[in-house]
Symmetry: C2
Subunit: 664 residues, 2 copies
């Protein structure tokens, strides 16, 4: 080894501390991914020690730079960094208990478990796509609150896996289009995936690919601290998002495994670890970090604390302080509920017949007017989704970030991931539109919103065979069931304009998870005229019942509620009293206590459910003995009304099924 | 209009026939997308009349070129072409009944409904990604059967939507890597999406993007037949896949709507249609095509019939005839079942303890040895998925297509779409591996496999919290339910090595839909030793029962079956007789007649189900009164065994729940 200067020695020690903790923790857990943290320790050291703005004593400082480990399997990289830079929660014991039950140092970085982890990563491509949302939120809030208050960067470390996943293309093309120059991605260009060299499965010229999407690309030796620093400096000055291609060696220092896929996803073993220590010049024991190295790692936090203090002064002097703090805390603007109640009263009085997607569009007008954080958008279906309102009509484009409408393009997955990032950043409340059937395209991001308990709202219009002529490829059949299956997602399916307003009221208030608004293409009659209570808030309720005892209960959602109402009327003509229960949110209804559920469904009444989707999930309410009117196959291409007839989801069918149930 | 040559006039009339039928059919249906067929009529005319090899009298001719309309909303383009070129099924009445109930001319082209439609498109990005699978299958079969028998091209028309969807990046990077030079994509570069100009949401330099993925790119005026022909000629000679960027005008000829998003997705209206007729020089009435134009359109079919005859002679002379015809008809090789029975007998005798993913790997050895069409692969998890066998170990790479293993890379969506294309092409039986949680990434393609009733097999390993340390992002919880929700998907979850073999036997025999093999990471004991019958074939069966009357039935799948067996043993010690039912495929079990289901579950027995997933779907068997031991939240990061304890999915828990149920 040649003689190193003091700063070179310092860098080496700092990076070695990361690499050593990473390989030691994986070894002790007997599980994990040592290679990536070892390969990216140099670049991460430069980023965290010289560029990243953060304050370990306040991980939630609003104007901190965001760091996202998109290659989430390399979680020991971020845990090491958080530990070394002084995030109190990340103790050496946590490092030692990596991947164990109850520790905060989970196998992949989990948002909400560890201060300093900005988003849950692991499913590849998600982090880099969240980052686009972070960067959008930053520029938007900067436009709203000014440089003094909002002025930070988003940094990502991504691997080959992130870049191969299709979602990354949606993310980088959107970022390039919007010229999000505060976004910098460090690509761990180590040429290795789990199965071997990248050349087994990919020959992409990433430099050219990113340039094609409007990015600045800088190629460097990722182990050379000067080159990393120079690239990060150039990235900060760029008027485009920047990709820094860091040529690295996975598992750097490991005598036989470095540069091979064997360093990727398994402990190195004692011998290889000893060899690495020798090769990297780190002669400390497992989990041992000398005070001198801790001292070096304390510097960036000190610098950050100072910047944080100065920022607090600027914020205190700002006119925007109160509103900024409200927005960042996720609080809703004062007075919105009163305004919205007035809207609901009007709807109750008017009883308009309309598609619930249109009703959603109407409800969004007062909502977006009063809730100033709401950020709208659509995956190229604005006219269909009705997500744009007067208050959100100004469009975000490159260099113009103050608007509140995003043209996400035909990128459902990238859109959902960006909305996760926006929600995680804070200060904004993202909602956006798509065809419901294409919730499948963004399902991995929806799942992460649910896991992270973030407020993201999907306006999923065209929610059944009511789609009509577009046919089975565009008609949700299993989607209500499959969305309800994801833990912590609330799927709302309102029956009319009033329920639509009520569901929106619940969705924007929900601060611990995502909501899906399942809305019709086709027009629907009003089924209720009482706005005094938000009847949707317990998920299901008795819409109408007989004066005395009921004979049967008809349970329905969305576009089928009016069929149940009409069927009840017809049954009444035959002397049968049918109770009608509307279930705008089955998830929420199933969470109610058993007494409430029983009181709604009636004591031991025969049960019939109607929903233009599959039966799965309904047996929990109606049991095997119950009747179900719905779908049990894919749809077809024809006018929507013809399809409801064809598939037998009609008032007639409900009446017939009800009588069949009673005559059993 | 300047004077046109005869061939120019002919081209104009041929293209006009497409444009006119398209706008007329959309107008009559009062629904649909006229703009794209009108814009691409010129390019499609050149492709179909001068390049595409097809025989309208035999749409299934094995060596035809494949044409895929990835921009499926422009379905009238392909219906017009099929009608004009003489596909008998596509009558003028069908054109007139576009998008109506019972007609074959659905809103989006549906495979199996219309001869000449190679794949169902509409969900954007799928067609171009299917095409990669078509092109792989063609090259592979060419390597197997020679130029005389397999020698065709795959052509795609894709729009901006296809190119914006992330799946397209996975597809084009895989195609470029494999140098699939028989694949040509005509990009309808009309600069318009539904919401307006592409510039609203995208600034990608597509030429550069495709070149970065190893494609040849040719830019032309899509309305100039000479340029189209020249580009197609160059594409045929290319040693790379080719993108032909066709600059076009959407809704070409429409006086006010051409070149705007108003031409995209709605009928043009009478006035605009009249103006278009005038502008394009087409003075025939709605749905009127003069005989002279039909005559022109008959030529390519005649040429195709001749080529078909010559090919038949070559096939007749080929040694491969019998095997080629077997493979293309989807038939399984003779004798495979006997070989496999021998394997099952051995497993039954050995009763090995192992993870079902390992058991799957073992079962695949004899399967792939005898079933020569099976094509293996993995999304960069070969070591985990155990999909590679001695018979499939040779890897497909650029220029070497005879192998049977594909490194799909970290591209689950592209992989699933490519497998659809391979299955649709015929001659191969694709299966491939991924982590089960990432079935979400490829769900849109899985849905299409189900809708198209194609034999595609997903080896979805790591099927529960048994994943362990990787944590909740990698642990399926809702996935069994959400996959079962898709119509026509069979999700198999075998309990041990023998059931794994039986499920594989069923999956490869299933020729009308896809199968998911849900397999454990962790080791499992054998639960059965009788291979005389494939007990899995009815989805569920009595694994063990008491001699006399049973007190309770324990229903379980996969890794929880042995818990039920152990619980039954423990309960027997307390004088309780528990029947144990294994349900390796709930979808299949629910399709059995009620008598069989009752005979398996026992008459009026209290029911308890155990599955390391959510309850949704199980109520159909156990009812609201039944007990369920499983998950009701996301998982966590810890060793797998700790998690089963933590989430209470244990023999103890089953015993306790069973007693609770009996004491109710």
């Amino acid at each position: 080894m040649t003689d190193l200067s003091k700063s070179q020695l310092e860098h080496r020690d700092m990076a070695n501390a990361i690499a050593a903790l990473s390989m030691d923790a994986v070894q002790r857990a007997n599980s994990g991914h040592p290679g990536m943290p070892m390969g990216m320790a140099d670049a991460a050291t430069v980023l965290f020690s010289k560029f990243l703005k953060f304050d370990p004593s306040d991980p939630n400082w609003a104007d901190r730079d965001r760091f996202i480990l998109s290659a989430g399997h390399g979680s020991m990289l971020i845990y090491s960094l958080l530990h070394l830079t002084g995030y109190k929660a990340v103790t050496m014991d946590q490092i030692k208990n990596f991947r164990q039950l109850g520790s905060i140092t989970a196998g992949h970085p989990e948002y909400g478990h560890v201060p300093g982890v900005e988003t849950t990563t692991g499913p590849l491509g998600q982090g880099i796509s969240n980052a686009v949302g972070f960067a959008i939120a930053e520029r938007h809030l900067n436009a709203r609150y000014g440089d003094a208050v909002v002025d930070h960067h988003t940094y990502v470390i991504a691997g080959d896996g992130c870049l191969m996943e299709g979602i990354s293309q949606e993310a980088i093309s959107l970022a390039g289009h919007l010229a999000l120059n505060r976004l910098t991605v460090l690509w761990d260009d180590n040429n290795i995936t789990i199965d071997g060299p990248v050349s087994l499965s990919d020959s992409t010229n990433q430099k050219k690919r990113f340039e094609a999407s409007g990015w600045k690309v800088i190629e460097i030796d990722g182990h050379n601290p000067q080159q990393v620093a120079s690239a990060l400096r150039r990235a900060k000055k760029s008027d485009k998002p920047t990709l820094i291609a860091c040529k690295t060696t996975i598992g750097k220092g490991a005598p036989t495994r470095a540069g091979t896929s064997k360093a990727h996803g398994a402990p190195l073993g004692d011998e290889e670890i000893a060899g690495t220590r020798a090769a990297r010049g780190w002669d400390h024991g497992p989990f041992e970090v000398p005070d001198s190295v801790y001292k070096l790692w304390k510097r960036p936090g000190r610098k950050g604390r100072k910047a944080h203090r100065e920022w607090k002064e600027r914020l205190a002097a700002s006119d925007h302080k109160a509103d900024f703090e409200r927005a960042m805390s996720g609080g809703l603007n004062e007075g919105w509920l009163e305004t919205f109640q007035a809207y609901k009263n009007k709807v109750a009085a008017d009883k308009p017949s309309m598609a619930t997607r249109a009703a959603s569009g109407k409800a969004l007008v007062p909502l977006t007017e009063s809730l100033t954080d709401m950020m709208s958008g659509s995956a190229d279906l604005e006219g269909s989704n009705k997500t744009k309102t007067p208050a959100t009509s100004d469009e975000i484009q490159a260099g113009h970030y103050g608007g509140r409408y995003l043209n996400y393009g035909i990128r459902e997955h990238g859109m959902a991931a960006a909305m996760n990032g926006m929600s995680l950043h804070g200060g904004v409340l993202p909602y956006s539109g798509l065809f419901m059937v294409f919730m499948d395209y963004c399902r991995p991001s929806v799942r992460l919103a649910a896991l992270m308990e973030k407020r993201v709202i999907y306006v999923a219009t065209h929610d059944s065979i009511g789609v009509g002529e577009d046919g089975p490829t565009h008609q949700p059949v299993e989607h209500l069931a499959s969305l309800r299956a994801i833990p912590n997602v609330y799927t709302y399916r309102p029956a009319d304009a009033l329920e639509t307003a009520e569901c929106w009221e619940l969705a924007v208030q929900r601060d611990d998870g995502p909501s899906v608004m399942a809305l019709t293409r086709q027009g629907l009659p009003a089924v209720r005229d009482d706005a005094s209570t938000n009847w949707c808030e317990r998920g299901g309720y008795v819409l109408q019942a007989g004066e005395g005892a009921d004979d049967i209960v008809l349970i329905a959602t969305g576009s089928e509620v009016h069929l149940a109402v009409e069927a009840a009327e017809r049954l009444a003509g035959d002397g049968i009293t049918a109770r009608v229960v509307s279930v705008p949110c089955l998830d929420l209804f199933m969470e109610q206590d058993e007494n409430y559920i029983r009181s709604v469904l009636g004591k031991d009444l025969p049960k019939l459910a109607v929903e233009a989707g599959i039966r799965q999930g309904w047996d929990a309410l109606i049991g095997r003995g119950g009747a179900f009117v719905g779908m049990d196959s894919f749809g077809a291409s024809a006018p929507g009304a013809d399809l409801f007839e064809h598939f037998g989801i009609t008032t007639d069918a409900v009446v017939t099924a009800a009588k069949g149930l009673l005559n059993r």
